[in-house]
Amino acid sequence: MAENRFRVLPGFGLTMGFTLCYLSVLVLVPVGGLFLRTFSLSWADFWRLATTDRALAAYQLTFGASLAAAVINAVFGTLLAWVLVRYDFPGRRFIDALVDFPFALPTAVAGLTLANLFAENGWLGQFLVPLGIKGAFTPLGVVIALTFVGMPFVVRTLQPVLENLDRDVEEAAATLGAGRLRTFLSVIAPTLLPPVMTGFALAFARAIGEYGSIVFISGNLPMKTEIAPYLIVIRLEEYDYTGAMALAVVLLVISFALLAVINVLEQWANRFAK
């Protein structure tokens, strides 16, 4: 594995060995086991199990809601990061510290409290439901939960970039006559795009895997508010092991692909860094 090269620092064998052992026990063997199980299926069977109407509806919700949540996070996360870095206002430090809250809060608790907030008799639901905005037990609820769990990604990816952003460049645009909006669009935005994309992709990937918070808020209505991971659980409860595993393999493959995309994005983002 290692290139035949003179290594100055010691410890390659030990650390690499430990890393690989650990990864083998935790990732390679289990993932391999899962794939091996599905290999006992014929391709046609696998395809049938992985693409039932219900599964398709679940994928659609999982990816659609994840996409929607990631977009919301990209927009509002950028806004929040901008406001936190650029402006001084009462409560700024508090909000800044609180941005990590979705990382720290167990997702089950998040789902519980969000469902409670947006339910008909909840703090927000009592105002929103009469307006026809039903946050709990609808696809919107899934989007809300996913927005919550993915929120820190865009903000935290963007914040350091914004902090290190050269004010010079903005001032240069101003000296050349550009107004604020123009400066933002043609000078700042292009620099922010790669980190926003990275944050977006991370939030998206996280949303696809999310489970704990959604089961509390979505209502789990088949074909309507049932996400793919939940369908896996249901398949298990229906003793449909192969069906569950087919779905799991589909999600795994997509996760891999997404991570690959994120890696490419990160490299692209680094290209612009000086």
Partner: protein, 367 residues
Amino acid sequence: MSIELRNITKQFGGVSAVNDVSFTVADGQLVALLGPSGCGKTTVLRMISGLEAPTAGDIFVRGKRVNDVPVQKRNIGFVFQGYALFRSMSVVDNIAFGLKIKRWPKAERAARVAELIELLDLNNLEQRLPHQLSGGQRQRVALARALAPKPDVLLLDEPFAAVDAKIRQELREMLVSLHHELNVTTIFVTHDQEEAMEVSNRIVIFDKGRLAQIGTPREVYEEPASEFVARFVGVMNVLDCEVRDGVARFGELEFQAHGTADGQRLRIGFRPYAVQVSNDLTAHRHRAVLRHTYFLGVLLRLELELPSGLIIRARMSKEEYARLNLAEGREVSLQIRQYRVLSREGESLPPEVSVTHSLSLSPGEGI
């Protein structure tokens, strides 16, 4: 009068970065704002550009008060220390940016960009992104971008600080020739006195937010208004002397001090080139031992130790050093041909230009 600053003060959170500064820059001049870092020179430049607003005082451009004119409307070209190129835009797009903002027609825009590419020798780099350029190239793009919309004033903030010594020299020459060619009023900030001397036709020196002196390079070097200016512009030997019997003394060195009372303290300075050294021990009044010789190229710097242990610095050409057959450890004789009284005890010497002439040289020993 192209630009005038009247009693400009700038405070950051109660601390004065610039304190009651007034000066004028005539049309077409190339002026350097010189001072150590943190002296307020960059803040002054930014206030002229409109990137910073003065806390008090007025700025006039062509006689018109521009305090309330936003940076976008001042028609200035600003070159930033770190280039501040737009990272996502090519060289051409960077240069054309200001023209686009000012809605130049496409054809004129292209022509102007081509002109600047030519002028700043950026051929074949048109489509590169900033991170694909060398430091010097980036600086030239920044210059081109600032010059493209034909600004009334070109402002440069430490324009050559971030490039290596050789490129810096080239860029300095380029700036001078550009200025000759375009004759645009140019103000640049630097902390490098050599650079200020070489490039500008007037130098404004700052010390801790206050104006220390304004003058031509020759003026500030030869007639420094204060000990600060004297020390900042070039090397100077400074001695803290006490007057006795009309003579200021420091160790065995003595200086004429007419019109001063006994017991008064004077600070007296002389430049290394004012120290005359001879290998003939009887040629001059003082004896000293050559302790160190530093080769700086054509010129050499010598450190001479007087019998009292006082060390003074002198300067001479390589040829003269060879002619005098000097070597470290050799005993020499020396005299100080020129010196200045930098300050007197009990007299505060305001740094305004007007006080320059009040510093008189001892008769017969003028510069």
